[in-house]
Symmetry: C2
Subunit: 285 residues, 2 copies
C-alpha cells in the first residue's frame, strides 16, 4: 500500500511539475503536495487490481480523482464558501496565494484532471472501458455529484439539517467521488456485472463510513475549530456513540459486499477496516 | 447560420434543464441563457461541416465549448478576479445569486462541459476522432490555455503589459478556446493533415481578430466601464487605428488560409468576415 501511495505521489509531482505561469503551478502544487493519505486514488488502484487491472493503466485515473478532490478543497475553503483559513495544518491556498490565484488554481486542478483523463491511453478497440471509467469520474465531480452536494452544504449553513437531507448531501459531497473511484477502478480492471454490483455496494458504504469517521474525528476537536459555520454533521444528528455505531455498520456492509464476489479483496478490506481506526494520525482528509 | 444557433441554444437549454438542487441549475442557466452570439460553437459546427461532419455529431462538442466559455465568464467576473458587476447588460451571476453560488455555478458549468464531452457518442472503433477532439478542447480550457491566460491577465492588473506578453496572454485567454473549437470541428469532420494545418492557421488568426475586435469595441465605451481595473488592451498598445489595421490583417490571413485547402469554406469565411463589422449590435461577447 505504501508503494502505491508513493506511485501516486510521484505521478502527481510529475503532472504538477513546472509549467508556464509557474506561480500558478506553484499554487496548484501547494494545494496537492505533500497532501494527505491519498485515500481515493488508493481505492481506485486497489479496486482495479482486485480484478486484474494493471497499476500503470490505473494510475492516471487515480491521479485525476485526487486532483478533483483537491480542487474541491481549494474552492470549498474560499471565503465565499466555507471560509477556512487552514488546511492540513497550514494556511489554506487562498491564505497563502490570495483569493483570485486560489480560484484559478482550483479551476486549474479540475481542468488538469480532465486533461489527464482525456489523455489516458486508449482502450483496446471496442472495450469501452476508458469511456465508462471517465464517465463515472466526471459525473461524480459534476452537478449531480460533488457540486450538488456542496450546493446543499452551503444552503444549510448554520441551520439544522434533516436526516434525509443529510444522507443526500453526504452521498453527493463525499460519497460520489469515493464511489466513482471504486467503480472506475473496477471497470478498468475488467469487472463483470456481478463484480461491478458488489463494488457498487462496497463503494457506497465506504463513502458513508468515510464521512461518519470524519465527523467523529472533527467532533473531538470542535472547540478549536475556526468556527466559520456549523456544518451538517452526523455527530450532531446521532450523537458520538450513534455515529460510531453507524460507522461500524457501514464498514461491515462494505466488507460483506466483497464476500463471494470472486475478486482479490484483501487490500479492499484493508482500506475499509482502516476507517475504523479513530485517531488523528490515521486520519483521512 | 441562424438555424445552427437555434440548434445550439436548444441543446444548451436541454443540458441545463431542470436538475437536482434546481437553484444551482437556475444559476447555471442564468449564466448561459439567453447568452450571446454563440460564436465559438458556431465556429466548431461550421469547421466540422466544412469537411463533411454531421451537425448531430458536432453539437455536443459545440455546446461543451460554449459551457466552458460561460464558466470562465462567471469566474472572471467574481470580485476576487475582475470584479465585474454586469454581464450582457444585466447583473453578473454573483450579483444575482451571491458569490458562493456563482463560484459553484461556474464549477458546475465546467464540469457539465466535461460530462457532455465524455458522454458524446463513441467513434467508429479505431478512428480516434472523439479522443482527439476532446483533447483539443480540454487542453484549451486548461492551465496551458485559458486558465494560464487569465493568470497572466490578473498578474498585469493595472500595469502596462509589454507587447510580447500581450500576445501570449491573448493567445491563451481568448485564442486557445477559439482555436480548439476550429480544430475539434475539423478533426470530427475528418480533415486530413493539410486540412488541419489550414484550419490551425485559420483558427489562430480568428482568435487574434476576435480579441482585437473586442478591444476596439470596448475602447468605444471606456467612459461607461465600471472601471474595476485596466485590462491589457490592444487599443492601449497600438491605438485604435493600429488595432483596426491589425484586425483587418488577421481576418485577411484567416481567410487566405482557407484558399486551396479543399474544404467547403463559405460559412467559415462568413464568420471570419463578420469580425470586421464594428458595431455593438454585431458584437460577439
Amino acid at each position: 500500500m505504501r508503494e502505491k501511495k508513493t506511485a501516486v505521489d510521484r505521478e502527481l509531482e510529475r503532472l504538477l511539475g513546472d509549467g508556464p505561469g509557474s506561480r500558478l503551478f506553484e499554487a496548484m502544487r501547494y494545494a496537492v503536495l505533500p497532501g494527505g493519505k491519498r485515500f481515493r486514488p488508493l481505492l481506485l488502484l486497489v479496486s482495479g487490481e482486485a480484478f486484474g487491472g494493471e497499476a500503470g493503466t490505473l494510475l492516471p485515473y487515480a491521479c485525476a480523482v485526487e486532483l478533483i478532490h483537491n480542487y474541491s478543497l481549494v474552492h470549498d475553503d474560499l471565503p465565499c464558501m466555507d471560509d477556512d483559513d487552514t488546511r492540513r495544518g497550514r494556511p489554506s491556498c487562498h491564505k497563502a496565494f490570495g483569493e483570485g490565484p486560489a480560484l484559478l488554481a482550483g479551476d486549474g486542478l479540475l481542468s488538469l484532471a480532465f486533461e489527464v483523463l482525456a489523455g489516458a491511453p486508449a482502450d483496446a478497440a471496442g472495450s469501452g472501458r476508458k469511456e465508462r471509467a471517465v464517465l463515472e469520474i466526471v459525473r461524480a465531480a459534476g452537478v449531480r455529484g460533488m457540486i450538488g452536494g456542496q450546493w446543499l452544504d452551503i444552503g444549510y449553513a448554520g441551520s439544522a439539517v434533516p436526516e434525509a437531507s443529510y444522507d443526500d448531501l453526504i452521498s453527493k459531497k463525499t460519497g460520489a467521488l469515493i464511489l466513482a473511484a471504486v467503480k472506475a477502478g473496477a471497470v478498468l480492471g475488467g469487472a463483470d456485472a456481478a463484480g461491478l454490483s458488489a463494488m457498487e455496494e462496497f463503494g457506497r458504504n465506504v463513502g458513508v463510513a468515510f464521512q461518519l469517521r470524519d465527523d467523529v474525528l472533527d467532533s473531538g476537536k470542535e472547540a478549536e475549530g475556526d468556527g466559520a459555520r456549523t456544518r451538517p454533521n452526523s455527530v450532531a444528528l446521532f450523537g458520538t456513540a450513534g455515529a460510531k455505531e453507524r460507522l461500524e455498520r457501514a464498514v461491515g456492509r462494505a466488507v460483506a459486499a466483497l464476500d463471494g464476489a470472486g475478486m482479490r479483496s484483501e487490500e479492499l478490506r484493508y482500506l475499509a477496516y482502516g476507517l475504523l481506526i479513530l485517531d488523528e494520525g490515521g486520519g483521512h482528509e
